[in-house]
Amino acid sequence: MSRLRMLASRIAGMFADKQAADASLREELAAHLEMEIAENVRRGIAPAEARRMALAASGGFTGAVESVRDQRGLPILESVAADVRFAARTLRRSPAYTLVSVATLAVGIGATTAIFSVVSGVLLQPLPYPNADRLMSLTSMFNGSPMAVSAPDFDDWRRTARSFSGVSAGFTTTTVLTGSGDATQLDQARVSANAFDVLGIHPVIGRAFVVGEDEIAAPRVAIISERMWRTRFGADSSIVGRAIILDGFPTTVVGVAPSAMRWPERVDVWLTTRFTEKDLSQASRGSRYLTVVARLNSRSTPSSANDDIKSLAKHSESVDPRHNKNVGARVDPLLSSMVDDVRAPLFVLLGAVGFVLLIACANVGSLALGRLGARESELAMRTALGASRSRIARQMLTESLIVALVGGLLGLVLANFATKALIAIAPSDLPRLSDVRIDVSVVAFGFLATLLTALLFGVAPALYGGTGDLRARLVSARGSIGRRSAARSRQALVVTEIALAIVLLAGAGLLLRTIAQLRGVDPGFRAKDVYTFSIGQLPHRYATHEQEIELTTAMLDRLRHVPGVSAADVSFSLPLDAGGPQFTFKIQGRPDGSGLSEPRAQARSAGITYFATMGIPLIRGRLFTDADRGGVPGSGVILISADLAKRYFPNEDPIGKTIETGWGGPGWPGQKFGGTIVGIVGDVRQRALDGGQLPHMYMPYAQWPIDEYSVVIRSSAGADRTFSAARSILRDLDRDIAMSDARSMTEIVDASMGRRHFYLVLLSAFAVVALLLATIGVYGVMAYGVEQRRQEIGVRLTLGSTRQRVLMMVLGDGLRLSIVGVAIGLVAAFGLTRLLSGLLYGVVPTDLTTFTIVPAILFAAAVFASLIPASRAAAVDPVEAIRS
């Protein structure tokens, strides 16, 4: 208590009127002295002697006043305050230096903090569930790669695994909401009844699912997302208990899920899984479409749970080798299962932006060192007046700290905007984007980065500020030892900048080449001028396949008459679009395969003109014709992709062979499909432009109608007019049909490169900033060097050197400086670009083209940066230079 009080009064003492306090003290001391003299006199001592004795005993006024002064305030703080005031004054006197430094640091700190906010939100922050670290993702494994889980496997795990307090499964589909305004396609998840409990999520209003609601006979219930609740239902709490129409079925809303409920991500409505007996039977081991999340119980660790699940997988392999051969299982923390494939790239980006910050530090440090030259006489004067080396170092550091703090503050403001921009340009499949925000940890990071920055660029000036021979400095500011080594340090800083810039340019160059390579990949179709949208599940009034076909034919007919439209047709799922389900199939006359070794293909229902519309070429045989309609399932015609032909008919002609699929797909429960192969068409890229080429089989839509499909339109009318025409045609036909995912094929192609594109944009931005800063750095050092060597240049010119030779000399110096940086940078880049290898396609991390162009760019930049100083050197007036 008394200590606090003391501190408070000492802080108050710092701001009190010091002169008044001193005067009062002096009066008090004088009174003391007078009383002592009077006492001495009273004891019979002569007045002069009495005064002398009293003075001797006092120990001196000045010392006492100083000691009391120190006690009055907080001397350390006061000298810091003085430093700050002085530094601020000094910085105001050189506004150009201050402005450039603050701006450079603001950009560096702002960019770094913004990237950190993404890294923090996506990778570091726990998921928004209670005890989120106990949540695990369970996946099946085949040949070391993860697979979705089948319903029977999930059922086994749920019943027999001992490591979890709850195991929950789910999958995402779409659903069509009707009954209020235009039909809308929604992203729907079907989850186990315990999903909300396993995650620990409580609905905003209403309730979670209860046990038994995922039974096949339970009434249909749904939980809607908070976003849906607010946008579609106006946050009306009476929604709970009301029925909405999903896919034509009345479904009772029982609750509203908070925005924290993100399993699975981007879902509008949750329904329950309703596994039939058949879904859970052995026959369904091969259909894998579930993701599984589980909460560890208190007795288990992730690794013990992993062993648990592995042994279960071993067991089912031994019991049912036909379906489970080589199928393992794995437990991973839920968070890492979500973000594993963005972890490395995001850390690479953080590293890259860290390089930008380092370059910014080097630049500001170099500026500060250069400024030492101009302050030589000031520093010498202060040293002469008794400032110690450490006192001057402290002063220098204070200046750096102020510059860094102002830069850091501006940087945080910048980071705020930059983070918003990042979220806006990030590809939508980047996980956890909604968790990215500027929070306490991000601000703390920014502050830490600021302090580190101040240390990094402030240390060199602090070291050199107090060195050097005082006499030499006072006599002539030129050529002192401190200054020479300061100049050498500046060169070292610039070399570092160039090296770092090389690394960033190399990384950006490699990604740029990757995107170019991907653009060169033939996707198997012609994307230009093709537009697509999808039709969510058709209303129940189109119950028969004939009715479906009739509707589709009417729609296509009208679409083909829209001005500009040259072709239009339907297909079940599109190329480069996540990929539809895989079908196993049998080739007639061959023995059955087993388990995962069964032939598999993407099966598509496609209209007759689909191939012409998409620009997929026919390789051999024939395409579908009008005659390919009707018939019984299993006896139609089939087109296969070149890849399927090569894979499953390596030594024979597939045309004329008959194949049969294992199931009928959505809308054909209990059916199998198949037919005679009549032709081979070109391959399309299904998952991504790099790889993702899967065997395909196509069946005519007229033989295999499906109730949700994509419409593809080749049109020269542009996106807006094509889609608005399509929208009005649909509304005209039936307003309960939902049109969604209206996109051009070009957009789909671009989106397939979305993440790489995002990384490329950022890395290129960093590389450009780095190049710019490094160029400024080279310019600064060269300009300073020329200024220093004016006399020498003058002598050279007098002794017969030509101006051209002086010009070449300075340019040569600049080039020499950059050669060192480029060499170091190339070595570093050689080692570091390996980190990018997961993102590259068609180029090796040590790509020769990149590693040739990048140094060339930097040499060009260095020469460019040296040009002005060089021409200034060549223009030196020898007479004037020697005299000065």
Partner: protein
């Protein structure tokens, strides 16, 4: 001449003020010197920072007034907090002194 520890000087000042009531700096110095039989001599640089410190801690308060021989002087007086602090410190010192005394009075065994 004995050197004074910071804490002990504070205690001496507080005791002096407790015994004599409000007193100016000179009076306090005199009194401490007398009590110590001139083994302690307080110069200004020792006394006044100590007084300020006690004042900042809230143990004493200062006020300008007129001395016995009509001189303007700053008088220091004990506050309630100061009295409590003095009692506390006295107790601690007495206990310490007691403890030390019993150790110092130990005789070597066997004599």
């Amino acid at each position: 001449m004995a050197t004074i520890q910071q804490g002990t000087l504070a205690l001496m000042i507080l005791t002096t003020l407790e015994g004599l009531g409000p007193l100016h700096g000179y009076g306090i110095a005199r009194r401490i010197e007398e009590t110590s039989k001139n083994r302690l001599v307080l110069n200004y640089g020792t006394l006044y920072p100590a007084l300020l410190k006690l004042e900042q801690a809230g143990f004493i308060k200062a006020e300008w007034s007129v001395s016995e021989n009509n001189r303007r002087a700053k008088f220091y007086a004990l506050t309630a907090a100061g009295r409590r602090q003095l009692a506390r410190e006295k107790k601690e010192w007495n206990e310490t002194a007691d403890l030390l005394a019993s150790f110092l009075s130990l005789r070597p065994e066997g004599t």
